[in-house]
């Protein structure tokens, strides 16, 4: 009670003069514990240099890339999900699929918006499908995994463009075909390695099939990519 008097003296100075009748027993502890501000536990990222912030995020993205390239059953992708990696990959892929169509508007290749929409819309639909079938993965975790597993296909796209620089004959087609098939298998395998544990056991195939279809469509877009500028001396095919 003495503490209360001391603490409340400046505020209720006048009240201390009020006499409390002896008949009314005033009992109990009314000390209010004042918590110390919990700022020491959180690391404030507002004061660090911008380079550090960017590098930290880049390192996280790079680490996840490594996990995708060597898929083991790890939970890193699921625990610390982020959508920077998928955005980066999606934009790169969409830009490279443009083909630099300088000649005509009737170039039937996919526009940037189409590729973007297919990748993100497709990922959302697959995630919804997985959740409706009873999967325990969260929405953004699934988007993260599906986006990161596009990495092998993006690598394949870069390789295809390099191969196309060398010519567009049958040999280049076979090389591109093999590269795309390998990376398609890699992507599907990597994403199932990450997603498999969160699915109900007797519906795994139902969840994996849309992922297969999704990467198949992206692989098809990569394989049929044709740059619009002509190279001149190329052979006429088989």
């Amino acid at each position: 009670m003495a503490e209360v008097d001391e603490a409340s003296k400046p505020l209720f100075a006048g009240l201390s003069d009020v006499s409390i009748s002896e008949d009314i027993p005033v009992e109990g502890e009314i000390t209010v514990p004042v918590g110390s501000p919990s700022h020491d536990d959180e690391y404030s990222t507002l004061d660090e240099p911008v380079k550090e912030t960017i590098l930290r995020d880049l390192k996280a993205v790079g680490k996840k890339f490594g996990h995708v390239m060597y898929p083991k059953k790890s939970t890193t992708l699921l625990r610390d999900w982020d959508l920077w990696g998928p955005l980066l990959l999606c934009v790169t892929l969409a830009l490279m699929l443009q083909g630099g169509s300088a000649d005509s508007k009737e170039d039937g290749g996919p526009q940037f918006a189409e590729v973007f929409v297919i990748i993100w819309f497709g990922s959302v639909i697959i995630t919804l499908n997985s959740k409706l079938l009873g999967g325990t993965i969260s929405f953004f975790q699934s988007l993260c995994v599906l986006g990161y597993c596009i990495l092998p296909l993006t690598v394949a796209m870069i390789v295809c463009r390099l191969v196309l620089l060398g010519g567009t004959g049958t040999a280049s087609f076979i090389v591109r075909f093999i590269v795309v098939v390998v990376s398609f298998g890699w992507s599907t395998f990597a994403s199932t390695a990450f997603l498999a544990d969160s699915q109900p056991p007797n519906r795994k195939a139902l969840v994996v099939y849309p992922v297969f279809l999704f990467y198949f469509v992206i692989s098809w877009m990569i394989l049929t990519f044709s740059p619009s500028h002509s190279d001149g001396a190329t052979d006429t095919g088989p």
Partner: protein, 302 residues
């Protein structure tokens, strides 16, 4: 407590207590085990053992009824409402696909496979696969057909995917809607024995489109008569599944209306197949040279 039957009697008592806790309508007096329970469901048998079995048997069906009732009461704006349309396992989806390509006379697809558990997984993903199958096969077949022609510049025609998607999804959703509305209207006039819910009709239509996926892949072969035979076979198989499903629903109606309905179903089904083939797959023939706007270059292999 009972003195004669010892353990058996105590089990009976426990079950009674548990069931009494489950159901609100129970009016048993738990204290006296010799008294026959006055609940409406359990006025059977005399000996405790028979009652025991009946109780447990009834309890299972009662419990499942209760659970089923609870399961179906989610509101349509919650996620759980839609989750019950995806309550299928892998083997069930595969069974339904098998049933849609092998029509058995007398075996109704809805009664045999769907059995009041219609799912949206099959229709949605079969339509999606069909869209991409048609678009990709169309591209490949066009490339093969025009191979060797100097004016042809291969382009992956991406617009066609959108058109294919619109056509197939409209067919798979609007036609069942129209059919369901029509059947409901006829149901109000003529009491039909068989009536289907909207989702069951969507399910039948969705699974019946499955046969067109291998058909679309076979359409890559640039020989006309192969394509037409493929269309005929596919149409016969899935068309007969549709007919076997819907014939019992219109059989009791006016003869002419029944025949008209069935023919409309078949004609729309055929129209989809032929339309897809005509639009996406070019006929292999001598092309008139002079394609507009493309680069006059040697044809490239993609």
């Amino acid at each position: 407590m009972a003195a004669v039957d010892g353990l058996q009697f105590q089990e009976f008592d426990d079950a009674e207590n548990l069931l009494g806790a489950n159901r609100d309508a129970t009016t048993i007096s738990i204290g006296d085990p010799n008294e026959k329970p006055t609940n409406q469901r359990r006025s059977l048998g005399n000996s405790p053992r028979e009652e025991d079995d009946d109780l447990l048997g009834n309890a299972d069906s009662d419990k499942t009824e209760l659970l089923a009732g609870q399961r179906k009461s989610a509101a349509f704006w919650t996620f759980e409402y839609y989750q019950k349309f995806f309550d299928v396992d892998t083997y069930q989806v595969l069974d339904r696909i098998k049933g849609s390509v092998l029509p058995l006379p007398g075996k109704n697809f809805v009664r045999l496979y769907i059995r009041s558990n219609p799912d949206l997984y099959g229709p949605f993903w079969i339509c999606a696969t069909l869209v991409f199958a048609i678009a990709i096969s169309g591209n490949i077949s066009n490339f093969l057909v025009h191979l060797g022609q100097p004016q042809y510049h291969y382009m992956p025609e991406f617009r066609k995917v959108t058109i294919a998607a619109t056509a197939i999804y409209s067919y798979a959703w609007l036609v069942p809607l129209a059919l369901w509305g029509f059947l409901m209207w006829r149901n109000s006039k003529v009491m039909n024995i068989v009536s289907y819910s909207f989702l069951e009709i969507v399910c039948v239509y969705g699974y019946s489109l499955f046969i067109y996926i291998p058909a679309a892949i076979l359409w890559i072969i640039p020989i006309e008569w192969v394509r037409w035979i493929t269309i005929l076979v596919a149409m016969c198989l899935s068309g007969s599944v549709l007919v076997i499903t819907f014939w019992p629903a219109v059989r009791d109606d006016n003869r002419r209306i029944a025949i008209a309905t069935i023919s409309a179903i078949i004609i729309l089904h055929a129209l989809l197949a032929v339309g897809c083939k005509a639009y996406f797959f070019d006929v292999p023939q001598i092309e008139v040279p002079g394609v507009s706007g493309s680069i006059a270059s040697v044809p490239r292999f993609c």
